[in-house]
Structure formats: structure tokens, C-alpha cells
Subunit: 319 residues, 2 copies
């Protein structure tokens, strides 16, 4: 079967494609044999069954033209991240809202009901939810990114209710440790304060050491996205939006784990310099979730932050 992945050239997208085509995923009951990556740049994967299309996801005609006879779904991962969606309001609305709508309408107008995976974020929560989020906590975003993701959730749910699409929405924790360079996500520092010191490079933390964040490793998030794509529809029919499991860790405890894994000197490469703009966004996000529902649905959790650092070190040495 064929799957379209928007944002397929990105960090999560390319990992998702790679994982879906690896033999170990056959057991999941997802028989994905061909994948089309749709992104503004080429998908970095070199695989005979991956087609890389460079184009605008906001173009409804382009998305429709990529849907084939054997297409079973779309994994819609492309997005403008939090800081950028806040500073470039029009771009954020265009990509995070208009493109999501264009993809939903491409599905609606297709003759066969397609499965749609949409990645949302804990940024849909803001003031008024308290420190711990329940499955029925109130969505009150305090950023344009969170607003646009919350709107995407509402649209996927309504299109699914109408039967236009078989939608699955995953609210992602903050993903650490991301490899590569810092990006325009407000949470980018959370990877930076681990990744940079492990390479001997200083890193600046813009928030207080006591700030707790809701985290997941990239590997666990990819496992969970595949699980969300594969899960039986009847299990999520009533509520398409899933708060993915994560672990709640303070910046201080993240650095404690870094010290345990890599020594005092490595940890000492992290300094603190408060950034009010970053802090306002990140501290509006909840620090912990009740994930009973996701747990019961079989989604995965990391063992702890030391394990997350371990995985990152292992992935660095394997590439």
C-alpha cells in the first residue's frame, strides 16, 4: 500500500518513512510498501520505494494528484514550528491551517476514505489547564502555533465524524534529543542543552532550571506515530485526539542525567540566560499528562531521561 508523508524531508518525516519501510514494522499490520514524500525540499532517504516530490503542501491540486489507486492514507507532519508561527503570523496560518484544510479537502473529494495521521502538540494547551493535563482538559492555546494545531484537531475530528476521512491526531510531547542544528521551535533549547554539550559545544538555556517539560525521544514518537496509523478505527472513533505518553522532567533533572551520562565538565557547558519570549511560550505548556487512554490503547513511553540520552548517544554513533 501507498502512503503520502507531508514534511517527509523533515526530522520526523524522514524517520517515519524509514521506519515504515524497515522489515521490523511488518508485524504492525501496516503493509506500507511505497511512500511519497511531499515537502519543500527533497527527502534525504535513498530508497527505491520512496518518491520525493518537491512542492507546496498548500496546493490542493498537487496533493490530490499524489493520491493513487493504492493510497491508503496521508501522514500530515509538515508544519511551521512554534517560534516561527508566532513571529511570521501569515506564514503560520498558511502552512499550519490552510494546508491542513487543503489536505483534508483532498481526502474528502477522493473516492475512497483515506486514513489521515495529523501531528498536533501539547502547545494546544495553555493557561487554565493546571500543571497536569487530563484527557478532557480544556484546549486554550497561548501561541499561534498551538491555535493552528488546535484548529487542525477540530477539523480532523469533524471530517472524520462525517466519514470524509479516517483521522488520527497525536499530540506530541516535546521531542528530545533532536539531532542537527537548533530550529525555530520555542522548545529547541531542550535538545540543545543535551546535544551541544555532548559535542563539546556550549549551550544556553533560556528558561529556569525548575521548569518541567513533557518529553519523548524521537524513537518513541516514531513508534507511536506508526501505532496511531495502524490502530483499529473503532478504538478511537469517539475521540480522534490522543495525548501521546511522555515523561515529565525538569531542566535541572535533564542536566543531572547529562552529568551522570557524560560527566560534570560536559554539564558545565550549559549556562542560563533568561529569554522572556521563549519562556512565555514554553512555560504556558503543561508539564505532565494523565495518559491512561493512550496507555490503554498501547502507545509507548520512554523509560526515563537517562535512557533518552543513551538512545541519542547510540544513534549518533550509528550514523
Amino acid at each position: 500500500m501507498h502512503l503520502i508523508v507531508t514534511g517527509g524531508a523533515g526530522f520526523l518525516g524522514s524517520r517515519l518513512i524509514s521506519a515504515l519501510l524497515s522489515p521490523k514494522n511488518e508485524r504492525l499490520g501496516l503493509d506500507v510498501t511505497h511512500i511519497t514524500s511531499l515537502d519543500r525540499v527533497a527527502c534525504p532517504l535513498d530508497h527505491p520505494n520512496v518518491e520525493s516530490v518537491i512542492g507546496d503542501i498548500e496546493d490542493p491540486g498537487l496533493v490530490r494528484s499524489l493520491i493513487r489507486e493504492d493510497t491508503f492514507g496521508i501522514a500530515h507532519l509538515a508544519a511551521i514550528v512554534s517560534s516561527q508561527a508566532e513571529s511570521d503570523f501569515e506564514l503560520g496560518m498558511h502552512v499550519n491551517l490552510d494546508a491542513t484544510r487543503a489536505i483534508l479537502d483532498a481526502c474528502r473529494l477522493h473516492s475512497k476514505r483515506l486514513r489521515l495521521l495529523f501531528t498536533s502538540s501539547l502547545a494546544v494547551f495553555g493557561a487554565g489547564v493546571g500543571r497536569r493535563v487530563e484527557d478532557h482538559s480544556c484546549v486554550k492555546p497561548r501561541s499561534s502555533y498551538g491555535t493552528q494545531k488546535a484548529i487542525g484537531e477540530l477539523l480532523v475530528s469533524d471530517y472524520s465524524r462525517h466519514g470524509f476521512v479516517d483521522g488520527r491526531v497525536c499530540r506530541l510531547p516535546t521531542i528530545v534529543v533532536r539531532p542537527g542544528r537548533p530550529n525555530a521551535a520555542a522548545s529547541s533549547f531542550a535538545s540543545g542543552i543535551i546535544r551541544e554539550p555532548l559535542s563539546g559545544v556550549p549551550s544556553v538555556c533560556p528558561v529556569s532550571p525548575s521548569l518541567s517539560m513533557w518529553l519523548s525521544s524521537p524513537e518513541t514518537v516514531i513508534d507511536n506515530l506508526i501505532h496511531a496509523l495502524a490502530i483499529e478505527e473503532r478504538l478511537i472513533d469517539e475521540d480522534r485526539v490522543i495525548n501521546l505518553p511522555g515523561i515529565s522532567v525538569s531542566v535541572e533533572d535533564m542536566l543531572g542525567a547529562l552529568e551522570r551520562q557524560a560527566g560534570k565538565e560536559t554539564r558545565s557547558l550549559v549556562s542560563f540566560e533568561h529569554d522572556a519570549r521563549i519562556d512565555a511560550i514554553v512555560s504556558s505548556w503543561p508539564e505532565s499528562f494523565d495518559t491512561q487512554r493512550a496507555d490503554a490503547l498501547g502507545f509507548h513511553t520512554d523509560a526515563g531521561f537517562d535512557a533518552i540520552i543513551d538512545k541519542f548517544i547510540a544513534s549518533r554513533s550509528s550514523t
Copy 2:
């Protein structure tokens, strides 16, 4: 000062315009002297300071052209109602979502920050909120109308947070007794079962007598919309969305009040015939709200359902 009212030809819009221009509203601190009604049909009011513009509210250029030097805000009331938004999905998305966005962008691109009143609905709630809604209850619409209104709320909140607009969102209870003819709102019967018998006409109730609804008279809703337009911004700055007060009344108790006001024979004109489509929409709405916040902000409530019928009878005889 000048105000634009979308849906100004409609039931609420024309009453809002009329009330704003009546001398008794001067005391509210809202100095509205001129009003432009924007609607697909002409505003029925004949008043020298009311300009009636016939056009599409989805046309951003048209909305922008109506903003004058002395415009202080827009009351955006135009909408496709619940049953119609459910059956004509594209029309609902177009009017309830695209037009709201066009109006917000017209405000954003205007040189002066405008006040924006947006009418939302209890239909933003659905499964999972329980029978009684708190101020922080979870928005999980179970209709396209509710979805589109929930998206409008998110947009108004985010545009307000950016300072693009000074937004105020009122979640309206079901309004009874509406005069005139039944409309395509799923809740239309709630007015019909009072209005029709009072005119000696039979009426069919599509839901169970035990179903409770969250109700407000038109007069109280208009008072509350004016209050929402007039209220100091600092009081709602943290949360732009207000659950308006109402009263929770079962269909049975509505008919009891009808019998008290108009006799057994009048009540006997109401028969029951279950309509699964209507029932699915209306019974997904909450029956009662905790309105502590709205009460503290000075919003008004009806004295009871007998008083609502009284007001309707009085308004009929005065026109």
C-alpha cells in the same frame, strides 16, 4: 461611533442594531451613532443612521471597504445555522469559517485596532463535558456548526492575543422564543413548541420531553451582546470567550409553563415525534452551565421560563 453588524438583517442582528440605537442604551457607555448592516438581504430597519449593505461577508474587500475612520468595531453575527451547516458542509465551512477569518483579517490589516464581537454557541461542547459545563470545560463539538464556532473562538482569541483585534466571544444559549417561522437550526423546535401553539397552530417536538436545554430570551441575549461590546477589555483580556448565562429547562417544564400561561388546550397542540438527526445534535449539547464568571462580569439572566413566555407574548402584541 460607527459599528458594522454582519447578519444585520437577521433575527439577532436587526434587534441588536435597534437596541444599540435606542436612547436607553446611552448609559452603557457605548456611543454607537451609526451602524452598517452587512447581510445577503436588506436590513429591515428603517432608521436614518442605519446603512444596509447587501453582499457576501466572505468578501474580504467588501468588509474592508465598510470600515470607516470612525468605526470602532464589528459585531460578527452572520452564520449558517446548525442543521444546515451539517447537511451543506461546504456552505457551512465557507460562511462560518472562511468569512470569520476574512473579517478577522480585515481587522488585522486595518490601521486601528477594532473591537470584534463574535457570537459562538453551546454547540462547541459535545460528548465528554458531562451535563454541566464549567468555564474550563473541554470543547469537543459533535457537529460541523459547533466545530466551526469553536474554530472561530480560537481565531478571535489568537488575533486578540496578538493585538490585531479586541475580541469578545459570547457563547449563546439556545434562544427562545424566536418569532417568525421555523429555521434550519437543530434547536428550532424549542421556539416552535411555544410560538406555534400560542397562535393556535400544532407543533411537533422531535426530542424527548425529559431533554433539558440551556435557554435565554432574545431580549436577554441582546442585553448581553451589548454588555459584551461595552465591557472593559482588561476584564476579559485573559480569556475572550464567555459562556453567557441562561436557564436550564426541560421540554416538559417548557410545556408546563406554556400550560400555565395559555391553558391546557394550547399545550395540547404539541405532539412528539422523534427525529434521530435533530436529537443527535441537540442532546449532544450541555443542559446547564456554571456561569460564575459571566455573572461576576455583569451579564444578565432571565427570571425563568414563565417570564420568557411573558416577554414573547408582550413582544407579539407590541408589533
